[in-house]
């Protein structure tokens, strides 16, 4: 049960990362255009953020890993997306006024708006491996399956956002949806951790 839930959460994380990235591109277009370098900026920042996130998440998993902490990473990511929803316009206005070249403008704006939330989302992958791994021998298998699930989530997030969400919703609504998915995923992790603790408490008292 726990295993399936963790996999579901990893799927949600992969899904949300790509929703965020696709909307990021649309968000920058009014200020910096939608040329190949704007997409280049976004992908650069997302890759950079994910690489940093993997590093931090892996390190963090060394210190008393728990599903509770895992849940808080999701909630942290959900909260970190919100400033992008509220302040994207003043941020891009500011960047536009100080940087003339749309290449570096879009790079700077992407850094301010997307770096932190994506680092937090990047922490999820290694932490999921730590939670699910039961033995050294099976660790590669576990990691591989997790990557499969989360990257599959990313594929679905990409196609849903670019084919359908942009037709159905406004961009900020899609960002709220992304934040909402991450928050719900975090809440689910906390609920699981709570019920697990209660059952171990019960087991302890019955002994």
């Amino acid at each position: 049960m726990k295993k399936v839930t963790i996999l579901l959460l990893a799927f949600c994380a992969g899904f949300s990362i790509m929703c965020f990235e696709i909307i990021g591109g649309k968000l920058l277009a009014p200020y910096f255009g939608s040329s190949v370098y704007v997409w280049g900026s976004i992908i650069t920042i997302f890759m950079l953020a994910l690489s940093i996130g993997y590093l931090i998440g892996g390190k963090y998993s060394l210190y008393q890993p728990s599903v509770t902490k895992y849940g808080f990473i999701y909630i942290g990511a959900a909260i970190a997306i919100i400033p992008t929803i509220w302040f994207s316009e003043p941020i891009m206005d500011f960047v536009f006024s100080i940087v003339e070249d749309p290449r570096y403008g879009s790079l700077l704006a992407s850094t301010i708006m997307f770096l932190v939330p994506t680092i937090i989302m990047g922490m999820i992958a290694p932490y999921s491996v730590r939670i699910l791994t039961e033995s050294t021998a099976s660790s590669g298998h576990t990691a591989g399956f997790l990557y499969f699930v989360s990257t599959f989530g990313s594929a679905i997030g990409t196609i849903m956002t670019s084919f359908y969400f942009v037709l159905w919703f406004e961009m900020n609504q899609i960002l709220w949806l992304t934040s909402g998915i991450m928050f719900s995923a975090g809440a689910l992790a906390l609920a699981i951790s709570f019920s697990e603790q209660q059952s171990t408490d019960k087991a302890a008292t019955s002994v």
Binding site: K26, P30, Y31, F32, S35, S97, E100, P102, L167, M171
Partner: protein, 296 residues
């Protein structure tokens, strides 16, 4: 069995032969960061097109080699009707250079007018100069930048234009950020008092309704000029209160425009206020701009 196959092959080969003889000859191919741009020639007509493997070919620009003044595209001729709105604009902004036929015509008709053309693709600007006689001068300038980025920057620098021409909607892919209420509001603020906007837009597909409503939202009086034969439609809007009173037929102007293939009298008679779109759809905004998805 074998016979029918060879028969089919013969037909296919024959069809290919006809197709190749009718299609234009490629005389130059230029690589750009966006797509390959091709120059073709056919029956004394030289054209610029984006390389595509699709059947439908849309030329970005054409020039008549026997009469280089003549504007080949009907919609370019229609845009020129905007001169009846204001015969002496001091500054003109063109978004989407193509072959540069409009700035070239303006340089001849209005030698004192400053014409700024914004083009995103440096390869297009280069080919306009080398194959379409587009020439820069202190009055005729080209800026290689995204249209929206240019407009935002120009607003920050308090620039004004008397006439803005939007001609960035020719390709297969629509730049969605140039088709929103916010963008049109920005262009409207960039217009001087009484300034005119002319946009070359789409005709057909579901996008038609959305696009029309978007222009309507920003320029509440829009006037339409449809090309009689092709699918183009010019939308006129202004930073003024009564757009109709501004369009004036003028014999001297008509004479001046005639060498460019513009029949001013006809063009002006086609301008109308008829609403033939569904006004109940939502306008496109920066938040909601699935223009490419709607254009299918």
């Amino acid at each position: 069995m074998f016979d029918s196959l060879s028969q089919k092959l013969t037909i296919v080969l024959f069809a290919m032969l006809i197709a190749s003889s009718a299609s234009a000859k490629t005389i130059h191919k230029e690589r750009s960061i966006y797509r390959n741009v091709v120059i073709t020639e056919n029956n004394n007509e030289r054209c610029m097109r984006f390389e595509t493997r699709r059947r439908a070919i849309s030329n970005q620009a054409c020039i008549d080699l026997t009469n280089k003044q003549r504007l080949v595209f009907e919609y370019t001729q229609s845009i020129m009707a905007g001169l009846a709105f204001n015969q002496a604009p001091k500054r003109i902004l063109i978004i989407g250079l193509g072959g540069g036929s409009l700035p070239k015509a303006f340089a001849e008709i209005l030698p004192d007018t400053e014409v700024v053309s914004v083009e995103i693709d440096p390869a297009v600007a280069k080919l306009a100069k080398s194959y379409f006689d587009y020439q820069e001068s202190d009055k005729i300038q080209t800026k290689i930048v995204d249209g929206r980025v240019f407009v935002k920057r120009a607003l920050k620098n308090n620039q004004k234009f008397d006439w803005i021409i939007l001609d960035a909607f020719n390709g297969d892919y629509i730049p969605e950020h140039l088709l929103t209420v916010e963008f049109l509001n920005e262009t409207k603020s960039l217009l001087s008092q009484g300034g005119l906007l002319s946009a070359n837009t789409f005709n057909g597909s579901k996008l038609y309704d959305y696009e029309s409503v978007t222009y309507q939202r920003v320029f509440d009086q829009v006037r339409i000029l449809k090309s009689p034969s092709k699918g183009n439609r010019i939308i006129f809007g202004c930073n003024c209160s009564a757009i109709d009173q501004q369009f004036k037929m003028d014999e001297a102007l008509a004479k001046k425009l005639a060498p460019y293939g513009v029949n001013l009298y006809k063009a002006l008679s086609r301008i109308n206020a008829k609403v033939d779109w569904d006004e109940s759809v939502e306008p496109l905004t920066d938040q909601f701009s699935p223009a490419n998805l709607l254009n299918q």
